[in-house]
Symmetry: C2
Subunit: 247 residues, 2 copies
Amino acid sequence: MSLQPVAPPDDESTTLGIEIYARLRRDLIAGHLKPGERLRFRQLSAAYGVGIAPLREALSRLVSDQLVRFEGHRGYTVAPLSLSDLHDLCALRTELSCNALRRSIARGDEDWEAEILAALHRLERTPLPHSVEDRKTVDEWEQRHDRFHYSLIAACDSPWLLHFCGALSDHFQRYRRAVIVVTSSSEALLKRVREQHRTVAEAAIARDAERATAILAEHFQGSVEVVIRNYEEVSRSLSAGNGDDAP
Amino acid sequence: MSLQPVAPPDDESTTLGIEIYARLRRDLIAGHLKPGERLRFRQLSAAYGVGIAPLREALSRLVSDQLVRFEGHRGYTVAPLSLSDLHDLCALRTELSCNALRRSIARGDEDWEAEILAALHRLERTPLPHSVEDRKTVDEWEQRHDRFHYSLIAACDSPWLLHFCGALSDHFQRYRRAVIVVTSSSEALLKRVREQHRTVAEAAIARDAERATAILAEHFQGSVEVVIRNYEEVSRSLSAGNGDDAP
DNA sequence: ATCCATATTTTGTTCGAACATCCTTGCGAT
DNA sequence: ATCGCAAGGATGTTCGAACAAAATATGGAT
């Protein structure tokens, strides 16, 4: 087996449009761009150092990703957050992820098992950020967390299901990161979450579908409750009527 | 209070980008643009009578819709069809649609019932096209068929689920229309399909979730089988290796 | 002071041209 | 004859400017 060709420094065959799409997507999910915020071309152009053409391309894709909204002649805005969307999102995510996990358990091979253990290990070795200010640590943790959850369902053998789970996961992350200011809110909670990660991995590899899906559902339910609790608090505190939750 | 401003003839606040997106989407789903086909800008620009800027915008969105593929510096192509994708698509569509139908039955009100009956009536009154050449009739039938199936699940109260069902439905339509040359292949089949439409509507309105989902699943299963049978035939006949089914 | 109409500015939209990359063609060497 | 390389053409990408629509500011009348 050969090593990587020394260095893939800048991806060949990439375009500005692709790059800016990825960067905007990251910033959207990370909450760096605030929900409801207008995305003005000149402003973005200056901030990201690209022209308008690639920007339009990226924003168009993000519309179909449901991460930004578009109104003709009135420009693009960051997709708002709303409690009803959060509920919908989470319910479906639980259902689809459990479905995918079930399939994964039925079809996964040794590589799948190995990947789960690897992802879990990496996640557990990542320090939890103490505040949202510590952007680098948050990014790292979120990435590994995502990767762990992805590894669980990766063997479900359904690209469409994976795609939908990914979309829902991305959107949920938006809520989580918009809302959670301190992760160390409760030492007990953190311990429980870590325990759930470990147990769901264990059950999955033991091919115990019932147990694995039950724990996963419980894990999601727990996250949702925390997010919803914080969401209500946060939206109360900045009740400046930011066009949230509206019809 | 004033009346509507006489007439909303052409949608206000529309842009070329939006329009061309809708047109391309239609043509993609209808199979007017063939799977694997390269989408050259100059060609499209001439065919649709718009500049490159709106085209790029539309194509970008269609990438996120999974209807076209994009490779940096190598342009856009119509997303290919493949047997494995078809299987994946159909399995998930059945699952999600039945799920949505179940929720709809639990939450639907009288308007939901009325809409189902209206959509069913319109569908039954639409003549079946005798060949794919009769584009207008095919379009009309497909639209009403879609609308009927949408009406069944419309009350599921989950925008995300509806969105996913819609995406899967659109993609399945692509296969159906690419593959079915004559609908009048079997008089018995047609009769059965019509019967299924009628029965699923009836069961839904009677709030018999078990029966409704069973029939809907059966209905999908039947369509899938027809499409797959034709798919194999069609791809055998034009086995010029059109980059199908690849990894 | 408020309201409405108009002027101005800001912002989004579209086009055409310049630029970069990829693909094909044609030539020459092995 | 085949392979590799170079030149040319085709195609995708990006930018800047012209255009159009919307939002904002201005000024006058009630």
